[in-house]
């Protein structure tokens, strides 16, 4: 009889545990934005974006057969400015093929931003509505994705790239994907 009674306690026990989790979620610095992509090793979402300043549209067909990095940025995003020198350095050394997607940004603002802080991108697509970003699962800018020769997403980095991240993650990944 007692174990049967214990059975009826189960829902309550389960709920108490859940409430504790909820409290943790509210009180600690839990940040739901630090998540790797669910699209890892999945085909990158299809997109076609207007090019910045009348450049040809940027589509994922432009990437076929190459290892490329796609960086989501915006002129209104402070961490993007922090990240800019690292991207510029990578571009100068010509180690990666970097494409930019201006997230929820007006073309004029994005252009001004790139003039001011330097333009590390081969080409830039304008994602004014943020739809492409949603399809990639972008939580916020900046975010960087690596896409392999078969058009699969292989890596995602949330937040501004750091020199450490370049050394410990990006470089080994490049070696693995066979791009030089």
């Amino acid at each position: 009889m007692t174990w049967r009674r214990a059975l009826y306690l189960l829902p309550l026990v389960g709920f108490v545990a859940l409430a504790a989790y909820f409290f943790y979620g509210l009180s600690s610095g839990y940040n739901p934005e630090l998540l790797p992509s669910a699209l890892i090793d999945k085909p990158a979402p299809q997109f076609q974006l207007a090019g910045l300043n009348g450049a040809v549209p940027l589509t994922n067909q432009d990437f076929t057969g190459q290892v490329v990095f796609v960086n989501f940025f915006a002129s209104w995003c402070a961490p993007c400015r922090e990240e800019s020198p690292i991207l510029m350095d990578l571009a100068r050394r010509n180690v990666i093929q970097l494409y930019g997607i201006a997230y929820k940004d007006k073309p004029a603002d994005a252009t001004k931003y790139l003039k001011e802080y330097g333009d590390p991108y081969r080409r830039v697509g304008v994602d004014e509505t943020g739809r492409t970003a949603i399809n990639f699962g972008v939580y916020g800018v900046p975010e960087t994705y690596a896409i392999d020769r078969n058009g699969h997403i292989r890596w995602r980095f949330v937040g501004p790239l750091t020199p450490q991240a370049v050394q410990s993650q990006l470089m080994p990944l490049l070696k693995k994907l066979g791009a030089s």
């Binding site: 009826y8 829902p11 309550l12 989790y21 509210l26 630090l34 992509s37 076609q48």
Partner: protein, 662 residues
């Protein structure tokens, strides 16, 4: 001045709710008839007060009174009147007032129809509902007050989020709330039954109409929300496993389980403690959904205002409501006597299977939604769970359920004859096989799961038809006899067949989405593109000036060979006030397939990004939802619930006697 009146009415609703709770619960405990009658009056008064508060808020929106902070933040002069009205609930504070309005509406309905109910049960139900109302009124008044003034008042408001300016979205929150809050009635009944320590067939008969009604509303609400996402977001998707969508799906799954298990309680007087638990869980999931959407614990595309203070308050509400009721459950439920026994293969057995699978589905969605939070709390790796998780877990779970939907209604109560039931379903089985074979032939090497899904849909639809034919003895009895039987069938059984048929239609629509074709191209004026055997021609582009937006309107012609099928005009709307662009898709449907067209961004050189989709059977998803809800409504109109009418008349006649007994 008027808005202060509303504010005051809402404040006054709080002590009235306290009275309703106190009089209802204490009155029932002491057997004080006057107190119990007063609880019913309090429930009616509470509805009137909250309706008054809501009306003043609506008034403030209609006359664009920007001295009210809530109106200034969410409305503007340029907005059409219709959207001024709907933006009352297009924001957090206003939607919470709608929430309590519906809560009190249900309370008033219980009080109004309460004559037919055992008075103690009625008083306790109203008491529990009063407690829920206290919690939510405190929440509104302390953290989300829509009646606050703004001084000085701005000349114009900030307008509604443009994406919300749409008829589909305007109407779906009220339906969702009618569903969520309707679950509060079943919850109140469950808690009242636990306090009373008795759950029997009469109890089940009282709960069922409320559960059915809220289930119908929730079904319509979810279908509308998904339809809205489909035609608004511009990418052809209709379900994203987004936390907000999951928050509405979980109570729906639990509620579906509840309407099935309450049949068992009513007919066979068993599964009692499980049904009570389900009633508690269904409402708890509605509350948890509210918490998740409004606390910012999980990120979502649809997230409402994120304010940690609100989060803590809702969490406290959850702990009191859910923790309290589950404690009561742990104390009282073991005393509920189990009733009739049944064999595993029987109608009860099938309904238990239904409940087990639905509960498992619900748990899957729950875990998938909260997984990131759980994992982070134990210091695990950061992970997000997207549609791949749900595709792999939810779908396999549902398949046996869909199979059983066909068989269950043909099994007898207590001890069923599986073989006999299957024999009667040979026609359904044959049709399902034919559909699968045709599907495999057409889509050689294609998506197997989708073909299987279509087969299951055919199986369920046919089984529903066979079940009805079986009941009226179609082809086995002379026609007059069949006619007589068809008329005399209880509406509840037609309701069930309709709902199961609706499920089949929805499953067909979902399965067929695997066969969709899409094309994303950059098009110039006069360009043509091919999709699914149709030709799409880009005829022109122009500007259109809306009330509070400007739009690029493209004109396309859809051709089958050289025959014109339709003219499509997708738009790209720009809302200057919010600096936001919204795509307005154009859909041509013949109810069997949609041709879906969205206008993307221009390349600045005369080219426009165009997204075209051909989506076979996709309208079935929502048509099925509407059929399900209609089935629920038909069942709700059954004579069985109107037995209550007779009982109420009898109770009225007996009222003086009862009054003098107090």
């Amino acid at each position: 001045m008027i808005i202060e009146l509303g504010h005051f009415a809402l404040i006054l609703a709080l002590p009235v709710a306290v009275l309703q709770a106190g009089l209802g619960l204490a009155g029932a405990a002491r057997g004080d008839w006057n107190a119990m009658a007063a609880a019913r009056t309090a429930a009616l008064a509470q509805f009137i007060l909250i309706a008054l508060a809501f009306a003043t808020l609506v008034h403030a929106y209609v006359v664009s009174d920007f001295s009210v902070l809530n109106v200034a933040e969410n409305s503007s002069l340029q907005k059409p009147l219709f959207y001024k009205l709907t933006s009352v609930w297009g924001n957090h504070e206003g939607s919470m007032v709608l929430w309590v309005l519906i809560l009190s509406l249900y309370g008033a309905a219980v009080a109004w129809f309460g004559d037919a109910m055992p008075p103690r049960l009625c008083a306790r139900v109203l008491g529990v509902k009063g407690l829920v109302a206290i919690g939510f009124l405190l929440f509104i008044l302390f953290t989300s007050n829509p009646f606050l003034r703004l001084d000085p008042a701005p000349a114009n408001g900030q307008g509604l989020n443009p994406i919300l300016q749409d008829p589909g979205l305007a109407f779906h929150p009220p339906f969702l709330y009618l569903g969520y809050v309707g679950n509060a009635v079943a919850f109140a009944f469950a808690v009242a039954a636990l306090i009373e320590g008795r759950v029997d067939a009469t109890w089940a008969r009282w709960v069922r109409p409320w559960t059915l009604a809220s289930w119908c509303f929730l079904t319509v609400g979810i279908a509308m929300g998904s339809w809205w996402a489909y035609y608004t977001l511009g990418w052809g998707g209709w379900w994203f496993w987004d936390p907000v969508e999951n928050a509405s799906l979980m109570p729906w799954l639990a509620g579906t389980a509840l309407i099935h298990s309450s049949i068992v309680v009513e007919r066979r007087d068993t599964l009692k403690s499980w049904t009570v638990l389900l009633a508690i869980l269904t409402f708890s999931l509605s509350l948890v959904g509210t918490f998740l959407v409004r606390s910012g614990v999980l990120t979502s595309v649809h997230a409402f205002a994120l304010d940690p203070r609100r989060g803590v308050f809702i969490l406290a509400l959850l702990v009191v409501a859910i923790g309290g009721s589950l404690t009561l459950y742990a104390m009282r439920a073991p005393r509920l006597q189990p009733g009739g026994l049944f064999a595993p293969i029987s109608r009860e057995g099938a309904l238990v299977l239904n409940n087990v699978v639905l509960a498992a589905c619900c748990a899957t969605v729950f875990i998938g939604t909260l997984y990131p939070l759980f994992l982070d709390a134990v210091g695990g790796p950061k992970l997000s769970v997207g549609y791949p998780f749900f595709d792999r877990t939810f779908v396999p779970l549902v398949i046996p359920l869909l199979l059983a939907v066909g068989i269950g209604p043909l099994l007898a109560w207590k001890r069923g004859d599986l073989l006999g039931a299957l024999q009667r379903l040979w026609a359904a089985f044959a049709v399902a096989i034919v559909v699968v074979l045709i599907g495999l032939y057409v889509e050689r090497g294609g998506p197997v799961l989708a073909v299987l899904g279509l087969g299951l849909a055919a199986w369920m639809a046919m089984a529903a038809a066979v079940e009805v034919a079986d009941r009226v003895r179609l082809f086995r009895a002379p026609w007059p006899e069949v006619w007589r039987r068809a008329i005399n069938q209880p509406r509840a059984s037609y309701g069930m067949s309709l709902a199961h048929f609706g499920l089949a239609v929805t499953v067909a629509g979902i399965s067929a989405s695997a066969f969709q074709q899409q094309r994303i191209v950059m098009m110039h004026l006069g360009d043509q593109t091919q999709l699914a055997g149709y030709t799409l021609r880009f005829d022109g582009i122009g500007k259109h000036d809306g009330n509070n937006y400007t739009a690029d309107v493209a004109e396309f012609t859809l051709l089958d060979g050289s025959r014109v099928i339709a003219h499509l005009a997708p738009q790209r709307r720009f809302f200057p006030l919010q600096q936001q662009t919204v795509s307005k898709t154009s859909i041509h449907t013949n109810l069997l397939a949609d041709f879906y067209l969205a206008l993307g961004d221009p390349d600045g050189k005369g080219g426009w990004a165009v997204r075209a989709y051909w989506k076979p059977l996709v309208p079935f998803i929502w048509i099925g939802g509407v059929i399900m809800a209609f089935g629920g409504a038909v069942s709700l109109s059954d004579r069985r619930w109107r037995v209550g009418v007779a009982a109420r008349r009898a109770a009225r006649a007996a009222l003086p006697a009862r009054g003098s007994g107090a």
